[in-house]
């Protein structure tokens, strides 16, 4: 490759970039536009709206066109320089060593035109350092390699520049096939949101099938021969629940395939790179040293399929995103894989062997603390409810309530015992590992250098058993996606020592 040659020739974006800039601007304006359209419907004078529309569209296209025509970037030995802006010109120098993540996005239109949108992100801030909308695919790939290659070289110091883009070919570390994605759909609950949203929108229209429940009831009458009474209701409710379950699972599978189709993880040039998606391809690359935390997600459904998920938390560019409040670019090292594969992938970032890792346990009485008060509240409220139902002579319902409560209570106790047994922490020279939960389990692997502050806390309930909790605050991470890193219910003396050990970084 001869990428090193045109060191400081200013380059332009792809010739159709204006189209994508305009679409992005339209995306930002979509709510005001919708408001205008819906509010405008009541008014009578349509010509004004059309006039405004035409003027707006013309201004928008002109802006997009000028923006992309005046946009320049060029690659220097140690940095990339971006010149942008129409009225307010900025010249931005982004040193390669500062670029932590490179994320990219390619929707259907991008793919049809063979272009890609690229964001260069540093460790801080909510906006990417530079956004290139859009580049031809081949140029984008070369740019990413230049960034990675030169950053490595600058750090190594003294190596000849010609080598910078040599041996760039990344090796495929991990691929997620269709079968795995179906499993992911069965495990994850994403479909719930989709179905919920769909129900909401359908309920706003006349399409909403209000009589679904009635139809199921009719079906029960016709096919099961039960006409009324508690058995009829039980059958109807169970069948409705089962139908909802099937629909949600199907939606989850659909979403898993849509988001993670052909998920690939590459390694090379001291960086990890992922790409995925059925229609919209997206992904990004990062340096393993820039990973703020890794979280292995496990749970009862995961165990059923003997799979886990490996999430990564990257610094920077959290709020600016694809619209769902999550981090941009790279979120997983794998959405789903066998625990052995997860263990290998973890080791690509940090030298931790999860299979042989010995966790320091939490307080032996922790499970009691976890269930005591929830259980007391549950039992008291159920007793009241059962007594009330008995008073109303609804004996069958009272029995069902009591039985359901008992079942729930035993599940809670079972979960708490296993949670307390599985939870714990491990401290290595450079990492803190924290595991918590049972029905939904998270194992967080945190470089100690990323710890921003440590706190110990105790509640009045902890005092009797001499327990305390240790919390760790990280540099980055989406509040919604990554659980708080907290080692709960430790014996107090251990908590104090753990906090003391975490003090230094």
């Amino acid at each position: 490759m001869t990428a090193a040659a045109p060191l400081s020739t200013a380059e332009r974006l792809h010739k159709f970039s204006w189209l994508f800039v305009m679409l992005a601007q339209l995306g930002n304006l979509i709510f005001p536009l919708m408001l205008l359209i819906f509010a405008g419907r009541a008014g009578s004078d349509d010509r004004w709206e059309i006039g405004f529309g035409i003027v707006g569209a013309a201004l928008l296209s002109a802006y997009s066109l000028f923006y992309t025509l005046t946009f320049r970037f060029w690659v220097e030995a140690e940095e990339i320089i971006v010149k942008e802006g129409l009225f307010d010109r900025t010249l931005r120098h982004v040193p390669f060593t500062r670029i932590q993540n490179v994320s990219f996005k390619q929707n259907l239109l991008h793919r049809l035109m063979g272009v890609v949108e690229i964001n260069l992100e540093s460790g801080a801030g909510v906006k990417p350092e530079a956004r290139l909308t859009v580049l031809p695919l081949a140029r984008a790939k070369r740019l990413e390699q230049e960034i990675r290659g030169r950053a490595t070289l600058i750090r190594a110091e003294g190596a000849p520049l010609a080598q910078s883009t040599a041996q760039m070919d990344a090796t495929l570390l991990h691929h997620v096939g269709l079968g795995e994605l179906i499993r992911l759909g069965l495990i994850s609950n994403r479909g719930m949101i989709l179905i919920g949203t769909a129900f909401y929108f359908l309920s706003q229209t006349r399409l909403f099938p209000t009589n679904v429940f009635k139809q199921i009831g009719q079906w029960v009458r016709d096919h099961l021969g039960v006409v009324h009474g508690p058995l009829f209701w039980l059958a109807t409710v169970l069948i409705s629940f089962f139908a909802l379950l099937v629909v949600v699972r199907l939606a989850s599978i659909g979403m898993a395939i849509f988001s993670y189709f052909d998920f690939k993880l590459f390694a090379g040039q001291g960086s990890l790179r992922v790409e995925h998606g059925l229609v919209t391809r997206q992904g990004g690359s990062t340096k393993p040293s820039g990973v703020v935390a890794m979280v292995v997600k496990d749970g009862w459904l995961y165990r059923l399929f003997n799979r886990q998920t490996l999430n990564v938390v990257l610094p920077g560019a959290l709020m600016e995103n694809s619209g769902n409040g999550s981090q941009s670019g790279m979120r997983h090292l794998t959405p789903i894989a066998h625990p052995n594969v997860i263990n290998l992938l973890v080791q690509k970032v940090r030298p931790i062997d999860l299979a042989t890792l010995q966790l320091h346990p939490i307080h032996p009485l922790a499970w009691k603390r976890m269930v005591k008060w929830p259980l007391i509240l549950l039992l008291v409220s159920t007793t009241v409810a059962v007594a009330f139902l008995g008073y109303l002579a609804l004996n069958a319902l009272a029995w069902v309530t009591a039985a359901a409560t008992l079942a729930m209570a035993s599940v809670w106790v079972y979960g708490a015992i296993h949670d307390a047994r599985a939870s714990g922490f491990a401290l290595t020279r450079h990492e803190l590992i924290v595991r918590t939960g049972y029905f939904s389990q998270h194992t967080s692997i945190i470089p100690r250098a990323e710890v921003q502050s440590v706190s110990i806390s105790e509640t009045p309930f902890d005092v009797r058993h001499q327990m305390a909790h240790v919390r760790v605050d990280l540099r980055s991470g989406s509040l919604f996606e990554i659980p708080e890193v907290v080692v709960r219910y430790l014996p107090k003396s251990i908590a104090i020592r753990l906090a003391a050990a975490l003090r230094s970084c």
Binding site: S453, S455, I456, L474, R475, I496, R503, S504
Partner: protein, 175 residues
Amino acid sequence: VPISQLDPTLVLERIDPRTRYFWAISASLVFLLPIIPLGILIMVEKHSLVWLLPMCALAIWLGARYANRAIESYGYALLDDGLWVESGVHWRKATFVARVRVQHTEVGHGPLDRRMGLAKLVIHTAGIRMQHLSIPGLTEVQAHALRDALLKREGNRQLAQQVRVASDVALTTVT
């Protein structure tokens, strides 16, 4: 009941007792909250406000007591490697921020603070859940001295290394 310290090995500095005036006011307001509907009920039923007086007195007394406890429970220690702050009467919490993790600091005063010559030191980190740690009830001089001492960086790295080795040893002996 004496307040238990989370790390008994540390010697904590206390904050200025004059802070209790502000805290007593806010705590009293909290204790007054449940009294207000009760007072309205009594007023409607008995057409008298006499009952309200002892109740308000009780709320103020509870508030003052709570503020005193809160101040007793507040403490900080400037350590070689960073700052340790403990607080909370019933729900106790101690937070440590390493010197190298301090992003920037602020010394702030409210209008009442200024009248008494008090200040509040706020320490910002790059964290997401606990971005800042604050110590109220410092004198102006104390706040600036503490800030300067915290930002002094000589020999920090070496010190942090020593502390780390010591704490690793401490942990391995426990586990």
